[in-house]
């Protein structure tokens, strides 16, 4: 092979690796030990007010909501550990935090997300204890807040319910991925181009996994909520989700 051909081969190998391998990556948990200590503490601190709001909300919630919330938490954990079969031949996973935010509101979803993240770190080795703060911010604060906000906005604009749920879950997932890339870039800025250059790199490397994942997340969330309405209407009414639907 000539030098040009060797380079061409190396490049195509790298491109194939980057494009196809990551499809079996999980949702974007920053792994244990990946962030420097300052960032671990700072992201944890940023999450504190949101968590406090969530705990206050939980204390006020009725006992019966507690069990429903626990079931939703167990559900998020279970779907994040199961692979979705036969979708583009890859092995992707649902995150489910957008679903929790749409059903229970962002404050409860934050606490739920934190508990699930601890479980995922200890039982699934996704994420970790030192990166808990950063992961909580991207997956349990930013994502659910965006999903809930987008859902409410779409309903206000009189968009269809399926469209609103799809947009909320998919865009919430995308925001999670952007925030994670930004967190990685802030911790490890590039030598040339600084934080922004590094952010573009991380976004690019993870994009092939996360873009299809966001769409799958949106479709599945719509299917799950539609399914719930037919088989668990009393519970949905109890958590105040279905009432709102009746009004329109």
């Amino acid at each position: 092979m000539t030098r040009q051909e060797k380079r061409f081969m190396a490049l195509s190998l790298a491109a194939a690796g980057v494009l196809i391998v990551p499809q079996y990556a999980h949702a974007m948990h920053i792994m244990e030990g990946y962030l420097p200590p300052v960032f671990c503490i700072a992201w944890g601190a940023v999450c504190l007010p949101f968590l406090a709001a969530g705990v206050i909300r939980l204390k006020k919630a009725a006992k019966q909501q507690m069990l429903l919330l626990a079931m939703a938490g167990a559900f998020i954990f279970v779907v994040s550990s199961l692979k979705i079969p036969s979708v583009f031949g890859s092995c992707s996973h649902m995150t489910g935090t957008g679903l929790a935010a749409i059903l229970f509101g962002p404050a409860s979803a934050t606490v739920l997300g934190l508990v699930v993240l601890v479980f995922q770190a200890l039982l699934l080795a996704h994420g970790g204890l030192t990166t808990l703060g950063a992961n909580t911010f991207s997956m349990a604060v930013a994502g659910p807040l965006a999903a809930w906000g987008i859902y409410k906005l779409c309903r206000r604009l009189r968009a269809g319910r399926k469209v609103s749920i799809f947009l909320a879950a998919a865009l919430g997932d995308l925001l999670t991925y952007c925030v994670t890339s930004l967190q990685l870039a802030l911790a490890y800025p590039a030598a040339e181009g600084g934080v922004l250059g590094s952010a573009v790199q991380f976004l690019g490397v993870f994009a092939p996994t996360q873009l299809p994942l966001a769409i799958i997340e949106g479709i599945l969330t719509v299917l799950v909520i539609m399914g719930l309405e037919s088989c668990a209407a009393p519970e949905l009414r109890r958590i105040g989700f279905l009432e709102e639907v009746r009004h329109d």
Binding site: Q23, H29, M31, V78, G89, V205, I225
Partner: protein, 309 residues
Amino acid sequence: MRRIPKPEPMSLLAGALAALVGASLLAGSLPRPWTAGLSLALGLALALGGHSHGAAACIDRLAHTSRWAGLNAGLKTTGCCVLLMLTLCCRTPWPPLGLFVYTALLCMAGGVGVRRYLGLLALPAAFLLLSAAALLWHWAPAPGGLASVPFLGGWLVLDAAGQATARLVVARALGALGCLYWLSLSTPLPEVLEVLRRVHVPGPVLDLAVLIYRYIFVMLDTAARMRVSAASRLGYEGAGCGLRTTGLVYANLLGRSFGRARVCQQAMESRGWEGDIRFLVRKKPVRAAHLIPFAAPAAVMLLALCLGG
């Protein structure tokens, strides 16, 4: 007879990526044949090992049956957290790598098989490899450094600075991962939750955690049965159908769990539940000898840190 698993195409590609990243990490510091050999070995290990599903039940079982399960949970949690923090403060790759080997050996002494441990390590491999690739290679208008590949009108360059950062980050991640695995493979989760209760984590959060832990395994079992019955009705033929079936299975799973929550709540209320859930905890006293596995590596790490490690 044990069946040798056939490597999936995804695992093969992960292996190729692992070999590429391994070669970029080692390039220039070892003789060429060593670099090639080591990165090929890494790639092969990942391609043949693959990553396992059903990790939750596996880790839980290993934690309950571990030989370290008799140690005080508070001691294990505190010890692992201290080691984690020391790992993050390291400025050279060697102390974290040493800690990684030490914790891996401890896990194996606790009763975790080598193959099982490597399978668990493959779980975060995709993240580690991809982000290491992003740290190692960067785009530049002109070729330079240790290696460069033409890309989008410029060059993807591998240089010594990127290599140093990536080596340190990968080593720290491995060291920290070792600590996390030691904790999760030696301490059952309910004991960790009890430790958290003692350091005054708010009650509602812990009640939620206890309930979630209780229902995870019930739900995993239900999900597995639903998937088998859906598959036996050809529910996963083709991408569209598979996605639809997955949605239906998930909706049924959550709907049925909501129903189960109602039944469970009625049962608990009829037994005088007032909102908090407590379990009897078996006391596990701390002995001086128990401190050694934590204090010794912590002392070595501190020494390494003081010597500029």
